[in-house]
Amino acid sequence: MDLISIENLSYEVAGARILSDISVTLPKGGVTALIGPNGAGKSSLFSHVARLLPLQTGRISVDDLAVKPSNRRALSRKLAILPQQVHFATRLTVRELIQFGRYPHCQGSLKADDYAMVDVALAAFELTPLADRFLDTLSGGQRHKAHVAMIYAQDTDYLLLDEPLNNLDIAASRTLMALLRRLADDEGKTVVIVLHDINFAAQYADHLVVLKSGRIEREGKPSDLVTEALLSEVYSTDAQVAMVGDTPFVVP
């Protein structure tokens, strides 16, 4: 089946339960946002699907491919992940970074179609003029775009991003979300994104999964879910919800 399926996932650290028996399916296609208050377990859930954390209990599979170490290579061609913080010691140009995105396909020996894909990625993210600049000479926003371009070049069905908007200003955030939207709409990719800003989730996501205290509280469409009732039950706050067009908007 074409989706990400999570069954009975639990996660404990030093006696504290971070995730309790989570079972959910993330649909293929469109943009799915994982939201929830601080400490809900969103990043932990992300890390499990991204196979950054080993499974303690439960099962996760992506398009029927089980998430476990032996499927590592196949998974890297199926889903691409962008964690919250990426900083590395090696000096790379933008092009070199994006070329790494082709590694799951060519193991480092790039062929013509790999180079072509890199050029496509550069163009899609408007990075072509910066292609031969070193990453540390770019601004934070540009660097971030380069990283997204890299996972785009990985050419996977699924893209997972963990709070990518954290250090971006409003313009850069909107650009990135619009880009992800376009990837989902025009290229049929499935984007799963962890967000803490509920308004961006409401505006750009097709499907929301709400977590609280390590459990799935609700899931569904933003227009159905983002209500004052949700805010008071899950977030324990009594903010107002207004409608802008058909999109709900939480007044901060």
Partner: protein, 314 residues
């Protein structure tokens, strides 16, 4: 640009080797060839082993100011020697055949390295830092223990057991050359084969996992190679703390490209130049009696500090 750097270094190395062999050579040419040739081979082997071990280690630890030699593996060997001497006496120890001692030395070092690396319980950098620090402290501990044991054995002597605190490039046991050469060659080929995977590893745990690499396993593989290389070079000439650092820092400086396909051979070349040219200059040109290792540690350390301060290199 980088091809040119490598080419220049290769030529410099060739020049250094020629000078090493010919400068101040007296007497029978056959003898000189044999005697100096073996020493040259030893220097080249040690250079390549140390530089490659450092490159691999820096990639795994994602840090450009570390080197595996600082983890004091040699100190463990010194301690074992002290214990052996304590039990069977110095004379008994000197009777042991050198090949046996060499193999025991290498096995011990590899074993210790693996145990130490086995404490690497996570991919988090903190664990790696802690492991390196542990290695260093164990080095201090073992050195102090050895000093302690020697004092217990013979306290009347002013314990001048410098216990190989510096490498001796001058008195290399050339019997062990073939074994070292073989081991180094095999390990270097394996490292070379891993070069692309090492590039990916250098991107960090998350990115490497994203691209499908088994990070923990690759780290252990690379660390085993590091252990062997460090063991061989230490067994052959003793501890060489800053040689790797010095050489790899220079390589990074002159080559803008940091892929392992370039870094590994370039560092090896530079290491060869430093050792061969260094030994030649020190011995033949300046006629100094200071051991090369002391000079390298001093100069290497100084260069490294300057780099650290200027570039804030990590």
């Amino acid at each position: 640009m980088r091809a040119r750097s490598t080419l220049i270094c290769a030529m410099l190395l060739a020049l250094s080797c020629v000078l090493f062999m010919t400068l101040g050579a007296k007497g029978n040419w056959d003898f000189v060839l044999w005697f100096r040739g073996r020493k040259l081979a030893a220097l080249l082997i040690v250079g390549a082993a140390v530089s490659t071990a450092t490159v691999l280690f820096q990639t795994i630890s994602r840090n450009h100011i570390l080197t595996p030699s600082i983890m004091g593996f040699d100190a463990l060997y010194t301690l074992i020697v002290a214990l052996v001497v304590f039990s069977i006496g110095a004379a008994g120890f000197n009777h042991l055949p050198s090949e046996f001692v060499f193999f025991a030395h290498i096995s011990l070092l590899i074993g210790a390295a693996l145990i130490l690396f086995g404490t690497l319980i996570g991919q988090h950098r903190t664990d790696l830092m802690r492991m390196v620090l542990t290695g260093i402290i164990f080095g201090v501990l073992f050195r102090s223990l050895s000093s302690f044991i020697y004092r217990m054995i013979d306290p009347s002597e002013f314990a001048t057991i410098q216990v190989n605190s510096y490498a001796r490039f001058n008195y290399i046991d050339l019997n062990l050359l073939w074994i070292s050469a073989g081991l180094t060659f095999v390990t270097l080929s394996l490292s070379w084969q891993m070069r692309r995977q090492l590039d990916v590893l250098g991107l960090g745990f998350e990115m490497a996992t994203n691209l499908g690499e088994p990070v923990a396993r690759r780290q252990k593989q690379a660390l085993i190679l590091v252990a062997i290389l460090v063991a061989v070079s230490t067994a052959l000439v003793g501890p060489v703390a800053f040689l790797g650092l010095l050489v790899v820092s220079i390589a990074r400086l002159i080559s803008p490209n940091e892929t392992h396909a370039v870094l590994i051979p370039l560092s090896a070349l530079i290491a060869g130049i430093v050792l061969v040219a260094g030994q030649t200059i020190l011995e033949r040109v300046l006629g100094l009696s200071t051991p090369l290792a002391v000079v390298i540690d001093f100069v290497g350390g100084f260069v490294f500090l300057t780099l650290l301060l200027r570039k804030g290199w990590i």
